[in-house]
């Protein structure tokens, strides 16, 4: 498919690059490789390099480099980035999820008048509009395939995730009609084609499916696996959800508090070409890596 890169400015301090108007893994990989090329180029005056799902943004100091020159530098890197093999060395992470938990359920009931279908829960609604016969079948699909972290942001450490299945199989739901003023911390959400994990409690517009016991942002850096850096996710991470029940959720929370929770994380190399040849078989291989068979 043909992608059309579009360049623009965000005021006098940002260059904005849209790799494609629509979301795809190709657009994400282009954004990621161009981001990498810009970082490696070490262009003077650059202060922030931010990849997004299908676009990216560079913040720079125009007292050091003129906006036109900054734009030209980035354009000169595009051809190389486009040619680079869409393969990355990354990691696959298992995230336990307590679907249909009491906390997101209590929250969604409080905001029913802001929802498309006040008579259903978010899970019931998402299952129905995506053609699943039951919530259990929908959860099976949600937790059945891996997801790509295609952006980290909105608020500190929040991953946006893109489901690694053919487009026709991707879960899609609208956002709430009006955003909620509250979302429990660590809620598993979904809006448009993107999944997310709310890293902090706060406002939100994504549908709510469940909650994970595994913190992903800790500004105090006290949680054992967040001591080195307060944010868990990076763009390019691969996520696999695993449904857990109340007992396991409660136990995980205790383990986290006791400093004994160890996320299941394995290094893995991802090849976009190999994935496209047979997504189901490729995902099965990824899960073998995760479970160390």
């Amino acid at each position: 498919m043909a992608m059309k890169t579009r360049y623009s400015v965000g005021g006098d301090e940002h260059v904005f690059v849209e790799c494609d108007e629509e979301m795809s893994l190709e657009a994400f990989f282009k954004s990621l490789s161009l981001t990498g090329a810009i970082r490696e180029a070490g262009i003077r005056g650059v202060t922030e390099i931010c990849p997004a799902n299908a676009s990216l943004q560079v913040k720079f100091d125009p007292d050091v480099i003129a906006p036109d020159d900054m734009m030209a530098e980035i354009k000169s890197l595009e051809a190389t980035a486009e040619k680079s093999e869409p393969t990355i060395a990354t990691r696959i992470v298992e995230i336990p999820v307590f679907y249909d938990d009491p906390w997101t359920r209590e929250t969604l009931m409080r905001f029913r008048e802001r929802h498309q279908d006040p008579a259903s829960t978010d899970l019931e609604y998402a299952a129905r509009i995506n053609g699943y016969g039951s919530v259990a079948d929908f959860v099976g699909a949600h937790a059945g395939s891996p997801w790509f972290v295609s952006m980290v942001g909105f608020v500190a450490g929040l991953p946006f995730m893109y489901q690694m299945v053919e487009r026709a199989k991707q879960i899609q739901v609208p956002k709430y009609l009006r955003p909620r003023t509250d979302t429990p911390k660590l809620t598993i959400g979904h809006g448009g084609c993107f999944g997310c994990i709310y890293s902090v409690r706060g406002a939100g517009g994504y549908q709510m499916f469940g909650i994970t016991p595994m913190p992903i942002y800790d500004p105090k850096q006290q949680i054992s696996y967040l001591r080195e850096f307060m944010i868990f996710f990076r763009p390019g991470d691969i996520v696999k959800f695993r449904p857990v029940d109340r007992a396991e959720y409660d136990d995980d929370v205790k383990q986290v508090e006791a400093g004994r929770f160890h996320p299941l994380v394995k290094p893995v190399t991802f090849s976009l070409a190999a994935f496209h040849r047979d997504p189901a078989a490729y995902n099965a291989q990824l899960l073998e890596v995760l479970h160390g068979h």
Partner: protein
């Protein structure tokens, strides 16, 4: 040396010049919304320009000092009082141990900056003492000040005289209506030409939803979109895009109705289209706008934006020169 918080004000937080380098992980710059006023306050009391100060919005705190210090209040016209006696703004004055700094009613602007010789000495996090409220990061325990807090202050860097003042011509001022210069771009082409023209013709008003994350405006016409089939992943509303990064100062218009200009605690990305970006030279001004303030957006080109930036830099140079 420390400051005891007797009353916290409306939302008083520790801020410096910000925390660059983590926006790609959703951690915004933070720092004082009016960076010029932060710089001026620090220079007046002999601090480094990037030392941490207190940012008070609309209403000042009440603070008791445990030791002698030099203090300066810049930014909004929020009259400082020492044991009840009014002190001049944009001027360094001496505070003795046990004295209480309080504030009168806000006369103009929105945010006052309180610098103390030695700087607010909370531990730096990721290279900055600024408070990122949404992420409970940095500053004083990651939050706005509360009554009873004891805020640490560093040792004064050098002996600085009291009574020094920023010349009136070098103080910040807010014109009415406020004018924010804008470089169009980003997803500007999503709206019709007529809608784009109308946006700059309208006089907007600052909405009550105006904080460190962003400033919302209302009172102008809704934007009309060019028709298109929404791209995969964007969402069904014509104002939706595939979630992208949000530049600082970018103007998003959810649903095409109320523009929001993101500021220093910006959400780093999301799914609303943006029509352009407020130029860097006008970002300080936004931090001084009160709700209901009439505001015009003015379209400029890159050359004008850079000229305005250059002019702001020269102004800071003059400020430095006058307080050297």
């Amino acid at each position: 040396m420390a400051i005891e918080v007797v009353k916290p004000g409306l939302s008083t937080s520790v801020q410096d010049l910000g925390r660059p380098g983590y926006y790609h992980l959703g951690i915004p710059l933070s720092g004082g919304m009016d960076q010029y006023a932060v710089t001026a306050a620090n220079l007046l009391v002999g601090n480094a320009e990037g030392d941490a100060v207190l940012e008070a919005v609309f209403m000042g705190p009440e603070l008791r000092f445990t030791a002698e210090a030099l203090v300066a209040v810049t930014g909004a016209e929020l009259p400082p009082k020492l044991d009840g006696v009014e002190q001049p703004g944009w001027t360094a004055f001496r505070v003795k141990p046990g004295q209480v700094l309080s504030f009168g009613f806000l006369k103009s602007g929105a945010r006052a900056y309180i610098a103390v010789s030695g700087g607010i000495d909370v531990p730096p996090v990721l290279g900055s003492r600024s408070t990122y409220l949404l992420g409970a990061l940095g500053g004083y325990e990651g939050r706005a000040l509360k009554a009873g807090d004891v805020v640490p202050v560093g040792a004064a860097r050098r002996d600085t005289p009291e009574g020094r003042s920023v010349a009136p011509a070098l103080r910040g001022a807010v014109a009415n209506p406020a004018e924010l210069r804008v470089l169009t771009g980003l997803y500007w082409d999503r709206i019709t030409e007529a809608a784009g023209g109308q946006f700059f013709d309208d006089t907007w008003k600052v909405a009550p939803e105006a904080d460190r994350i962003g400033y919302r405006f209302r009172g102008g016409h809704a934007l009309a979109f060019k028709p298109r089939e929404q791209p995969f992943g964007a969402g069904s509303d014509p104002s939706n895009i595939v979630d992208s990064c949000y530049p600082y100062g970018s103007i998003q218009v959810p649903g095409g109705t109320e523009p929001i200009v993101l500021h220093r605690d910006a959400v780093s990305g999301g799914g609303y289209f943006m029509i352009g970006t407020v130029i860097s030279a006008d970002m300080d001004l936004i931090g001084q706008l009160q709700p209901n303030m009439p505001t015009r957006f003015v379209a400029v080109d890159m050359a004008s934006a850079l000229a305005a930036r250059h002019e702001r830099n020269r102004r800071i140079e003059r400020l430095r020169g006058s307080l050297a």
